[in-house]
Symmetry: C2
Subunit: 195 residues, 2 copies
């Protein structure tokens, strides 16, 4: 019984993982359940023994990584870091998510519009909170003269979207190592914030 459940769970995991890969490659609406079934190696109808609907898969992909991002940000409260160090930590976290969980991160960032009404509203509100929390850190950093005066909103948008550029590295020739790219982006983004 325990074994059967483990098997079932891992088949569902496989489906979600393949889905993330296909949603990233072709986008959510352009990926059919038949395509997905084929890449898993079963018939389309059989998918529904493991998942409830196409959009449930999208939700799972997006919220499991979005939750991790929120957790990392929340954990900074008690870490005893300066404001600038906190921003660096968040930035590194996003860069590493982009490298280590490329498919999931990409789907979250590019396919969230296709969430259904309620999860969509949840996601948007989570993200607004996330941005506001980062803005708060930057505002505090400016007040304490760790960070040079800049519109906090712009700093946050710039950092969070800059990371998306690394997607092209992932696609194309990999001339550079992940560490090299991370350090250079940190130098640029965090160096540009220092007071």
């Amino acid at each position: 019984m325990a074994k059967a459940q483990r098997k079932k769970a891992s088949k569902k995991d496989l489906i979600v993982q393949k889905a993330a890969s296909m949603f990233r490659e072709k986008g959510f609406p352009a990926t059919s359940m038949r395509d997905l079934a084929e890449s898993v190696g079963i018939e389309a109808a059989s998918l529904y023994n493991h998942i409830q609907s196409k959009s449930e898969i999208l939700q799972q992909i997006i919220f499991r990584i979005s939750d991790d991002c929120n957790k990392q940000l929340a954990d900074l409260d008690n870490a005893g870091l300066t404001n600038l160090q906190k921003i660096e930590s968040v930035t590194r976290f996003h860069i590493q998510m982009m490298f280590q969980r490329f498919e999931d991160y990409h789907v979250m960032i590019n396919e969230w519009i296709h969430l259904e009404a309620q999860p969509l509203a949840d996601f948007i509100s989570q993200r607004r909170n996330y941005v506001q929390c980062m803005e708060g850190i930057i505002t505090a950093g400016i007040k304490e003269k760790e960070i040079k005066p800049i519109l906090p909103y712009i700093a946050v948008l710039t950092i969070l979207s800059a990371v998306r550029g690394l997607e092209f590295w992932h696609r194309s020739q990999k001339h550079y190592t992940a560490e090299e790219l991370e350090e250079n982006m940190i130098t640029y983004l965090i160096g540009g914030l220092k007071a």
Copy 2:
């Protein structure tokens, strides 16, 4: 006859404009020709008197703005600017495209994957050239000590994707003016490059 042609051209323009708006909002695959026809005010079948196919519309939207970006970059050659000034000029251009031609710019950046094989290959190769050209300017700027040493590839990716962050400003509450955002982003991105 001239008048009839003008009329016909402007109807096609209307279709393409409405399409850009809907592709931005819902994505290319999730936008149906029936949706588009309704927003134009005609039947779906009637669209085909003005356009050849759904994907032709996408091509038009993407390449007319992509061409303008390439033109701006090419025009910098004879402008007598320093390398850093050239990068600033490119960055400002993208920020302004984001504000002034929001729908088109957004579609280019987010929906290019849905181009058909040949136009897709053309777009990818254009973009690779664009990135390499910017890398060349930054490399030259580093050599001449205008720009601080940083991986040029990372600088280009960071600048080009940072601009995408402004999309959220466009969506949500508009607490700031376009000028304010542009100047702050330039301060951050170009200030962070100065040697």
